[in-house]
Subunit: 136 residues, 2 copies
DNA sequence: AGTTTTTCTGCAAAGGTTGTTATTTAGCAA
DNA sequence: TTGCTAAATAACAACCTTTGCAGAAAAACT
């Protein structure tokens, strides 16, 4: 995710308005490595702006995600997580406590050094299948 | 997933009963490469057994998954998918139509040959983090 | 056949996210 | 500054998927 200033410009360029709610979200997300849920961000946001709604938090997160400024991490169960780090990296999910750890691409060595015990790896490719490519 | 006969034995060994509903599910899943949702299986099952409940379909899928006979694929949105192919393979999800394709491990060449256009790859590791390993 | 224990169905409820709508507000122009 | 217009917000309802629960039904064992 880019800096608050850059995001502001990007939103304006996209014809979107700069509201206090959006500025607050930008601020809460910048450099946030906790992979928060929408609910978690909502709780923090309320402390500064008690009137903000959960709906607006979701809305802003969706906007940022569709602009490519934010990644949505979808674990099998439970709420979705959001990650302002859009650089090439992977995630390690602890089955026990649910915490999410960033994993650099030089996987093996780093995983061991971090004391992470891997039980399974899932790779999901996203894109367009042959049929859909053809029908465009 | 193993054959219907083997599953029957496995269920009996686990103290689980062999019911017509379970046999039907075994049959619908054997060799099924469509990555169906619970709902989709329910619809097909109803045609043979109109009285079967969606609850039972979920129940059986959960049982099979927890026995390791079935994989649950969790995409970000929408219902979970089930895959009786428990061999080491990956998935390709078409963002346009939602179809899921099995991807063999010799990724690159096969993807191109299949006409699949990859936009993103997500790798999710699951296991136990250092803290949880330590507290065991 | 009878008994026990599991499983089934049907329904209610939960969790997470999105749709809807009236009200408010940002951005712009006079 | 003031007013205008399109967009965003808050509040609430609804949705979708999955699970919990209770009573009825049925598999397995004697």
């Amino acid at each position: 995710m880019r800096s608050q200033t850059e995001l502001t410009d990007a939103f304006r360029d996209a014809g979107l308005k700069i509201t206090p709610q959006r500025l607050l979200m930008f601020r809460l997300l910048e450099g946030n490595a906790s992979h928060p849920t929408a609910e978690a961000l909502y709780e923090v946001a309320r402390r500064e702006m008690p009137s903000i709604s959960l709906r607006t938090v979701y809305q802003t997160l969706n906007d940022l995600a569709s602009m490519g400024e934010l990644l949505q991490i979808d674990l099998g169960s439970g709420p979705g997580r959001f990650d302002p780090n859009t650089e090439d990296h992977h995630h390690f999910i602890c089955d026990d406590c649910g915490s999410i750890h960033d994993v650099q691409v030089d996987t093996e060595a780093t995983l061991q050094a971090d004391g992470l015990k891997v039980r399974s790896v899932e790779v999901v490719f996203r894109g367009s299948c042959a049929t859909c490519v053809a029908s465009k």
